[in-house]
């Protein structure tokens, strides 16, 4: 039963549903008291232990049902048997490949989630790929990952051809089939190259997840209405983080005795110091320099990051913000002159920095160094927000290197899903080693995690 619990939580995590260790422990402890055969009680108990936010209840209900009750993909419910058989046909073709990975994927297409999950982050697919590739020996994990992506891409092409030539099905059903197969393949790929458990953030919206929860949608896929909601969420995150900070300060405030205040308080009691007052220790604050790509592909994500940064500005000794596409301009003054909302708009809109052009990171970094040579110092956390799509320009790493050397740390926030970081027109491969850290920041959840790490 415990191993089933582990599988279930792994599955939840794979769905992007975060399960903390203590929640898992609770759930395991609860097993001692509820009998899984009493489905309703078992469900109540699992929900009580594993669901931490009301908003996630519905999702949990679906995942629970899917894991414990359904064995077939949800898509099959809406389609007829032809569709199902055709998907099965494709799976059978894969099985003939006589290759371990293809076999797992084939089972996955037909709904066997467990088998694939057993292989998440496991060495099995990795080793398999290593064996398959002639130069496999001594391959780095990254290379293996890329190899898996390559393999999946190949299978995606095959699947599309397969669906397109399934002429006995009507055209729109062929398209649905193609979509279904491609989605499944991509999910499987994402899963297999994943580190054992990635507790936060997620790769993508899954096809069966009909109800969108804005906290997990990529910024660039938000509708305008959702965009407003996200802003609200960012405000909430800021508030939460501030609460957390004040809690932390309170906790660590058992600093040293504040003599003056103690004596003042003791006056009430005839000089007896009943109330010993403590002075909280000062925390050292760092300086933030934020550089945001605001070309179309990144603009939204950059806005949200800036919004969050400025909401938390008390936490930093100073924030200076810059935007770039081809050249870099400072936008800090908007934030000192206008309320945040207005400043954000002005910063992104009125600046004449060539909206609609393609980003050139090298020239942007160069212009930053030339125009603002003394902005970065050793207390500085340099934040760069960009997808690294350099549009085939020369990345010229020396500029970023020079900036990173001056700063305490350099964190690159990438609003692109990790799986697409290393496309040919991207310079991420060149820039990543220079940064202290490169983090995926495509959704609110990820943004919130990042901010937490930054200030706590």
């Amino acid at each position: 039963m415990i191993s089933m619990m582990l599988r279930f939580t792994n599955y939840l995590r794979y769905e992007g549903f975060s399960v903390s260790t203590s929640a898992l422990n609770n759930a395991i402890a609860a097993l001692e008291w509820v009998n899984p055969v009493r489905r309703d009680q078992f469900y109540s108990a699992m929900e009580a232990c594993l669901v931490q936010n009301i908003e996630e209840r519905e999702k949990f209900a679906r995942f629970f049902k899917r894991f414990f009750e359904d064995k077939t993909p949800l898509e099959f419910e809406h389609e007829d048997t032809t569709f199902r058989m055709q998907a099965g046909e494709f799976a059978d073709q894969l099985r003939q490949d006589d290759d371990y990975i293809s076999k797992i994927i084939a089972d996955y297409i037909e709904g066997d989630v467990l088998k694939l999950m057993e292989n998440i982050g496991d060495k099995v697919p990795f080793r398999q790929v290593e064996n398959d590739v002639a130069s496999g020996l001594g391959m780095s994990k990254d290379k293996v990952r890329k190899e898996i992506i390559k393999r999946i891409n190949l299978l995606v092409d095959t699947a599309e051809d397969f669906a397109a030539t399934s002429f006995h099905m009507p055209k729109d059903q062929r398209e649905t089939l193609s979509e279904f197969l491609v989605d499944r393949l991509r999910e499987a790929g994402a899963l297999m190259k994943q580190e054992p458990i990635k507790s936060h953030g997620r790769q993508k919206l899954l096809p069966w997840e009909k109800q969108r929860t804005i906290s997990t949608i990529s910024f660039d896929k938000l509708t305008l209405v959702e965009h407003e909601k996200v802003k609200g969420e960012v405000e909430k995150i800021a508030k939460k983080l501030k609460d957390a900070l004040s809690r932390q300060r309170k906790r660590s405030s058992k600093g040293h005795i504040d003599i003056k205040s103690t004596i003042r308080a003791s006056m009430k009691y005839g000089g007896v110091p009943f109330n010993v007052r403590m002075k909280s220790p000062k925390r050292k604050k760092g300086k933030i320099i934020a550089l945001c790509d605001i070309s179309m592909s990144v603009a939204f994500a950059a806005q949200f990051m800036l919004l969050l940064l400025y909401r938390l500005q008390n936490r930093f000794s100073k924030i200076r913000s810059f935007v770039f596409i081809r050249n870099t301009y400072e936008i800090s003054h908007f934030f000192t002159k206008h309320p945040l909302e207005v400043a954000l708009q002005k910063a992104v809109q009125t600046h004449n920095i060539g909206m609609g052009q393609l980003t050139n990171y090298a020239s942007a970094f160069k212009s930053f160094l030339e125009n603002y040579p003394n902005v970065i110092n050793k207390d500085t956390t340099l934040l760069i927000m960009g997808d690294g799509l350099n549009n085939h320009n020369d990345p010229k790493t020396e500029y970023l290197k020079r900036m990173a050397e001056k700063a305490a740390r350099t964190i690159w926030l990438n609003p692109e899903e990790q799986e697409y970081w290393y496309s040919p027109s991207s310079a991420i491969l060149d820039y990543e080693p220079i940064c202290t850290q490169m983090v995926e920041c495509a959704t609110i959840d990820q943004l919130s995690d990042f901010a937490k790490n930054l200030i706590l």
């Binding site: 203590s22 109540s44 929900e47 232990c49 009691y269």
Partner: protein, 307 residues
Amino acid sequence: MELNINSVEDVTALLEGQGYISSTDISTIVYLAIKMKRPILVEGPAGVGKTELAKSLAHSLNLELIQLQCYEGLDETKAIYEWEYAKQLLYTQILKEKINEVVGSADNLDESIQRLMNLEDAFFSDHFLLARPLLRAIRCDKIPVLLIDEVDKSDPEFEAYLLEILSTNEITIPELGTQKAKEIPVVFLTSNNVRDLSDALKRRCLNLYVDFPSPELETKIVESKFPELSQKLVKQLVNAIHEIRKLEIKKLPSISETLDWASALLTLQVDEITPEDLKKTLGIIAKYKTDMDQVMEAVDKILGDVA
């Protein structure tokens, strides 16, 4: 001490004995909380019976109910303990007067100080300690039910204290040392979600979400409180409430409103709710003028075929 509860069904029966109609969710989680000795965090809209649940459980098991009502600005001195300064001050005065008696016969300074020190211990002793709900719960000899009501109204700083106490089941008073719980209390925290609680606190608890009840459950609740009402009327009433909850109004009627309405209809001796009855009693179910207008607009739907 072990509570005599051996199954989820036991919990349901106990609560029902107090007129509290439980659901599987509620009974299972209460049962688990008792067995696992974990706090329950009860979340949900106002008036769905969160507070009542804790009270009913305490009564049914004949346990002491210790209630801490949270509000903005609630601090340790109101929730955990406080030294009674006035009493202490009085004690200082007495000490001053008696100081010669105490020190008088001592031969040297060392001894005088020693004698004074012995007296000082009395300063920070139970005599001067005012125990507030959390400390009282920790000190109880018999398992109590500790109800920390509307915890979302307290400040995040306070939550941190709470988390510490709930995780360690002990309270440290610097002057007296650590007080370990004699019996681990059955703890209920309730929240209307005015503010998000910290993840740490949520993780510490079993999470129970109480939503508006299903029609079946609500029917049972009304029937148990107002057995005089006819089956037909209860059905119409519960239906109506559920229709109203589908409207996009500011304040959805809760179980408490359902019960108030039932009580009013009973007083008016209604046996079938007509639009006029609804109009007369509208103030009970809808709190805002705009809500009332919306309810009256949908009157046909709400009252069903009868209208």
